[in-house]
Amino acid sequence: MHPLEWMAWTWPTALFFLGIAAALIGMLAWELASPTVQRRGFLPISTTRGDRFFIGLLGSAFIHLAWIGVTDQSVWFALAVSLLWMATVMRFG
């Protein structure tokens, strides 16, 4: 038996975590290239870039949960909505 069998990896989850890791590394590179400035957007608190990234991710998770809980449509639509939300928060949050 493969030593990592207990973790029960699948391609979709592996890609998901690679995506998250890549995004974190990207955020780090961006931060090193041009440090973030705290600012106040449409969110009720002033945020840094990293804060907005976290808010975007957490919001996306709940968009997915709501989508799966309420509709029977494909999850891909939820992903599209999440990406839109993510972009909005990062740009205007």
Partner: protein, 289 residues
């Protein structure tokens, strides 16, 4: 004084990161993996996508446990926070009474959680427990093992007994941090004791109260051991809260997929609440400086 900016400080944080990541990130990734598959045994598993999430999110038993959890957390907050403030205000401020009070208050907090359950299991029994016996003498028909409402009340009373001292301790240390000059000024102005509380003590308590609410809300959201020992989640499902529900599914029935999907949902809610509280605490702290 402003902190210095130095990325080499990361070197000091790495050991913590590694050890917590081992206990947190690897298991969390595993839970995500489990949550999208139907697992029968080693090597026998099938990708099912969001199926378990759909099933869990629409499970009426989960909705029940979630509503009970919210009701429980709000109930104990509504009792423990005002009671804690009141007791903290009444505590002595000097003399031998201070140390004695602090030690007595801390005692329930240090009892292993299953022993807390055991204490109340014994205390609330009508045959050998003082509490149950007193109620029986008063003619109250009380049995926490049979009646859902009695079980609920017992679990709430147990939690209030166990954790109100925490709120008291936090408020008390908050009150002690108020400079005496504030009280003298209030005395000169002839302020009533209510005015002193409303305009001097309460504002100064905001910080510690946020922490008290944070800890009590989050920890009550994770409550498992005490009701597990006292009522086992029963009678029926009356005192089955979220952790109990999850532990039963995960260890009791070994339903890996649904338990994992539920874990992720549970965790996301915890993450959301933690973040809201953390942001609030940080705002209060930077606002006060």
């Amino acid at each position: 004084m402003e902190k210095t900016y130095n990325n080499r400080a990361w070197l000091l944080v790495i050991p913590v990161f590694v050890i917590v990541a081992f206990s947190a990130i690897i298991p969390l990734m595993t839970v995500v993996n489990y949550s999208v598959q139907d697992i029968f045994g080693p090597g026998q598993r099938f990708f099912v996508g969001a199926e378990w999430y759909k099933e869990t999110l629409r499970d009426p038993r989960l909705h029940g446990a979630f509503l009970r959890q919210i009701a429980f957390s709000l109930t104990i907050l509504a009792i423990e926070v005002p009671l804690g403030i009141a007791i903290a205000l009444a505590l002595p401020t000097r003399g031998w009474g201070v140390s004695a009070s602090l030690v007595l208050l801390a005692l329930p907090l240090l009892i292993p959680w299953n022993v807390v359950g055991t204490i109340w299991q014994i205390f609330a029994r009508a045959d050998i427990g003082l509490g149950g016996r007193l109620l029986a003498e008063l003619g109250v028909d009380y049995n926490y093992a049979r009646d859902p409402i009695d079980a609920w009340i017992t679990v709430v009373v147990m939690d209030v007994w166990h954790w109100t001292p925490l709120v008291v301790l936090l408020c008390y240390s908050g009150l002690r941090a108020i400079p005496p000059a504030f009280y003298q000024a209030a005395q000169v102005d002839g302020a009533s004791s209510w005015a002193v509380f409303r305009y001097i003590q309460l504002p100064k308590l905001t910080g510690v109260l946020t922490i008290a609410v944070l800890l009590r809300f989050m920890d009550s959201f994770l409550i498992y051991t005490e009701p597990f020992v006292l009522t086992g989640g029963g009678p029926g499902n009356a005192t089955t809260f979220l952790s109990q529900f999850l532990a039963t599914a995960a260890v009791g029935r070994f339903d890996l997929g649904p338990a994992a999907a539920f874990s992720i949902i549970y965790f996301l809610f915890i993450l959301l609440f933690s973040w809201l509280f953390y942001t609030a605490i940080m705002r209060i702290q930077t606002g006060e400086r």
